[in-house]
């Protein structure tokens, strides 16, 4: 209040029945309350009137609105408001429209940058958090969607998506992590909240950039390559297994689905990828090569056996 009044000369227009005006050239120091159009409420209260479209405004020297409260309760920042809260901005000049400073330091939590409540309430709130660290890794924007586990009036606890920086020497420095768990090492990691990369993708089609125009150092694989692949596939040791899941007890583990596949440690080097993962495309390629070699063997055998 002091700054407010020290900052400006105040013209108090006391409009009673006679509509008299009171002008103060100088500062005004009011120890009590300032009430405009009302006799109750806070230290300073402005009650909207039907005759004024703008109950409250902070203006620039040219009277452009810096902060404007419309008669309908909407708030505009340097603009007339077209929403409950509307901030002006500008394009292409680096200006920031909305700046939020409630990021969490990596390793801590509890602060939320934005919460989204339902139907004018604070119920079933989704949220956006940010996590910060002065080094490359672990900076993230986290999107949380509310589920009943959180409780109706609590903010969402389930993180559906995390846009996170990574510092792995073998991957780029950014990752989209779905239902995140653990640290991602590749550009897109689909987890399930308990196993890094343990999530499922539902997609009709997967494509790989394959045009010759996109590639260099092209050399066709040889018979030796096919033979090698044949031997590699032949020596694969398939296992059935379940994925470990964070927080799972013994019985929960029993309920995890059984998968079939390979163990990274036993797979040939040609199949190995980042994050102790096996490259599925290489598995398919090796199978194709092995099948070619197998077909060749059958053809040879067929010729030898004869009609």
């Amino acid at each position: 209040v002091r700054r407010f009044f020290a900052a400006a000369a105040v013209l108090l227009a006391l409009c009673g029945t006679a509509r008299a005006q009171t002008a103060i050239v100088g500062d005004a120091w009011i120890e009590g309350r300032v009430l405009v159009g009302t006799t109750t409420a806070a230290r300073m209260t402005v009650a909207a009137s039907s005759t004024t479209s703008v109950p409250f405004q902070v203006s620039g020297v040219d009277l452009t609105p810096f902060l404007r409260v419309g008669a309908d309760g909407t708030v505009g920042f340097s603009t007339y408001s077209a929403a409950h809260m509307d901030a002006a901005g500008s394009a292409d000049d680096g200006a920031i429209g909305l700046e939020l400073r409630s990021g969490n330091w990596y390793g801590s939590s509890g602060r939320t940058q934005i919460a989204f409540g339902a139907a004018g309430t604070t119920n079933e709130r989704h949220a956006i958090d940010s996590v910060h660290l002065s080094s490359t890794a672990h900076n993230s924007l986290d999107f949380r969607v509310w589920t009943p586990d959180a409780g109706t009036t609590s903010i969402a606890t389930m993180t559906v998506l995390s846009l996170v920086t990574v510092a792995s020497v073998t991957t780029p420095s950014g990752s989209v992590h779905v239902r995140p768990y653990g640290d991602p090492e590749v550009e897109l990691v689909v987890s399930d909240g308990g196993t890094t990369g343990g999530g499922t993708i539902h997609v009709a089609n997967q494509v790989t950039p394959s045009s010759r125009a996109l590639k260099t150092d092209i050399s066709y694989l040889t018979e030796a390559d096919r033979l090698q692949a044949y031997e590699d596939v032949k020596n694969l040791r398939h296992v059935s297994f379940r994925y470990k899941h964070a927080g799972d007890g013994f019985w929960a583990r029993r309920r995890r689905p059984v998968h079939r596949g390979l163990l990274y440690e036993e797979a040939p080097a040609s199949l190995r990828g980042p994050g102790d993962g096996l490259v599925m495309d290489q598995r398919l390629l090796e199978s194709e090569l092995a099948l070619q070699e197998l077909a060749k063997k059958l053809e040879t055998l067929d010729k030898e056996v004869g009609p």
Binding site: F4, D27, S49, A204, F241
Partner: protein
Amino acid sequence: MLATLLVAFVLSATPAAAQWGNRNAQEKGDLLGRDLAISPFSFFGHTSIFTEYASGDPTDRTSSDETEMLGPPTNAITTQNVQTFIQSSPFRGAFRYLPEELTWQDRRDIVDTITQMKNRPTPIEYVLPPYYNKYLTYTNRDSDPSKLTLNDIDRMRSDAVVEFAYASNGFPLVRPNLYSTIINSPDLFEAIASSNALTYPTANGLIPMDQMFSMLPAFVDLPQMTIYDANNTPIAPSGASSMTAVSVYVSDQLSGPGGLELLQNGSVIAANYFDWAATSHTYTSSDISVLGSLSDGKYTLRAIDQASNWTTVGFAIQTTPTCPSFEDISRQSMSSVIVSTNAPVFVAHSDTAGICSITLEDPYGATIGTATFKAASDAVFGPYPLLSTGTYTAQVTDCAQNVCRSTFDITAGIPYVVDAFTDGTISTATTITVDTDVVKVGTMSITTQLNTNCWTSGGPYFDSGCDYQCKLLNTSCAQTGCQTICASATPGDCHDEETCSFSSVQNATYTVTVATDNPSDPSLLSTVRIWDSSGTVIAITTTTNAPYGGWWVISGTVSVPQVGQTQRVTDTDGNANLDSYFGGVSLSTTALTTAAQTLYHDLLFGLLGNPVSAKGSDFIYTSTTTLSLTAQIPSGLSFDTATVSIQRFDGTSWSSSTVISQTVSVTGSTVTATGLVTQSGEYSLFFVGTDTVPPVTAFSISGSSFVFDQTLFVSTDAYAVLTATDPAVDGFASGVATVTYALDPSSGDAFSVYGSSFPLPLGTHVLEYRAYDYAGNAEAVQSATFTVTAGAALKDTGDDQVGGNLLAGFLGSGAQAEVVATAQNDMTLAVSSADRTVMLGVTNVGSVGVGVSQPAGQLDLGPADLALQLRSGNTVSTGTAAQMAFGYDGGASMRHLLRTYHSTATAGNSMDFLVWDPDAGSTTTVAARTIMSLQAIAAASNGSLHVDPVGTADAEVEVSNGLTTGGGTMERLQWVMPSSSRFKYDIRYLKDKDEDRALAETAALRHVRFRYKSRAPDGRLYDDPRQAERVGLIYEDAPKSLQTAGDTLSETERLANVELALQAAMRRVDELEKRYQALKHRRVP
């Protein structure tokens, strides 16, 4: 095949390029690398350099065939060392130098490749040149030849990096590999004698002589570039031009100009790539149109020659210096000024660009202060306090000496008005503090003295009809009550000395001004002296500025006697009276030599100021004569009789040893001491009390002030008053000698002697003060804090109710309650907590902060457990309320959206991201296309990222296409599954029977052609010819081993099944072969 074609192309294009092209290629490559980062060795971490293949075909070369220059610590890797090494150990590889075949884009691709390798997340330690690939063991090669991986990184040489870059872009610099047909095969083994090293390439037409051994940048033929403005005046490198059009002259003697790029902020914004036949070319707007109309800003031009060398030059366009506007001159308080400028600054480009100085001038053109600097951003200068009213000028000078001047007014609320005269011509004045004792003289004269160069043999003169007048002004009275103490009354006379006299003691601060009415004679006065009536100079002023008419400003140091330094006036007739009564015994006020004596004497003298009675017998000394001295006790003092005595002065000191049987009595206001004197001499009544208690100073305000909210507020019309008293102890106080003070002192600042009340500047201040008594006791430093405000203030301790409008400012826009920004207040509106922390603030540039003192955005929310809460979530799936809209460029067009949907169940909660496209209807309509949805789902792990969503997701990532749930396409290079045993449990190895079953299941698969159905908004599925035809399996037809949740088939299980089936088939084929071989040998296994 491709490699073959490339090599054939290369060889046929340069049949003459042979053995010795290698050196130049290496050098060229090095130059490319060096251009990227000064030295090729710096960014590859080169620790050694290889060169000189001694012998042998590449097929059997080993590292032992090479000469190695070891890096640190054996050798420092510098370009000089490298050059020396290469000259002594010629490289005899099989490179091919092909600059003429390379297009500009080829070169860019090669450089890009080098850059990419340099910038790899995994630092390159060793790079295998392509030709090595073919001759090293197969296991050293990466399985995927299309990319460079760690398996390819076998050894490192800077030239190898470049070889790789060339080869990767289709221009192998080495002999063709095994797949190639060699045409005009170079002699790989030819040894070049050192004596022929410099002549061989030229003789074979390979490279220019002056590029030989060019490991040092100085030997490189870099393109030369000169930038001209529209007047064909060169713009100095890193300089600035005020014209918007430029032309660029580029010359390159060897390969010729090959391109010019215009960059801004590190990005190419315009370019021309053409290999000019001539050795020079002037680029104009006809080559690069933007060169004809550049906007203000800084630019970089990069000229490239046809050998890929380049040169960069920076320059700036600054059409007009941007003068500081009114808003840039902000008054931080009512009497101080900050001057800033937003003029363009191009520090990075030029020593002649940017802001180099700001000068603030007073209303009369005098410089108040100048700041010289090289501003990297907007320059700020000030604040300057204590400015008087008037029009001031801020002058901004950029480093190219462009000058901008801007004026501003200070009109009200100035605490110091140094000029009470109304002619408006006096600018500033010098204050002179005159000691009280000196002022008693009662006259003062002001002498003007000519400058030396105005003297003539005839003595001082004024060379024109000049009139001088002096005035002595009491400024203690501040603006409204200033008095002219005295003034000479004879304007019109030509005098070199003027005297003004005053009759009463004026214990105050004075301003002396001298006036002339001859503005055309500005260079005469140089010194003003102030004399007392005895002719002693008590004040001298010096000046360096000649008068410009009107009242002359006297400036300089004035030296005046200070309190405590003055020779005190002594009584001149007291002795005679005493002598008449005491023959041989006298009471004296002889000059005293010590401080204590002075103190005693002062006291005695003060006592003697009243009637002193001396009683004795006939005034003749006898040992029995009783000497009695009586004095009046000054008002306000009470004497302790033990501290008063009769003492004798022996010529050196005073002592009571010669007085016996002393008694002291106090009767009313009279003190009487009696005793028997034992020697002749001078006797006095001495007060021998001691003062060990310091004085006490009180601070008060004379004028308008009040306490508000525990803060003392003082009007600028008021004065600070310090009142000191020395408390009497045992009836004695030595008295206050000096009161000193300092306003807003820093550590070590000297205190000023307090003479009289003084005005205070605007703002919040800390006044420190202390007093000393004559006994030397010093008061501990006291302090007072107060805030001086301009003008009168309304203090209202009650509530104010406004029935009309409330306007803070002078002109409003009509709001019911409105606060208008002013330049001098950083914050326009602040809602503060009880401890004055700003909770909601609006700055005077419109930034709004909640919980932050300095908002950095249009809306800036400070730290909180929950920074921003939005409540516009939808509760039905068809809801269209949006939580956030993202508009373009301050408008509400083409708005992207963030919508949320909420449900008390798991499903139905989502955050949807909508991106505007024309299908939304118009640019003013919010986005209608949902690109991504983060959903809570009942399946999977309760959460899903749903792309182009339709229907209900049932996996962590659901890639739909807006028609079919999960019907979208995902493009990626690699698909990796977490496979380590540490991720897994319940691991069981599959057996032959599992393989056999997989083979059977695979054999039984019934592949179909089909189209996906589309999903309508109501969830209904319908046939849709827009869907592409696909080949795959039907969930219901597939074996259970492949089936997963959501009626989907697992790709990973399909792949595992194929692998298992393959293994089963392999096993059967092996058995079949064995059986066949056995049959062939008529043996049945």
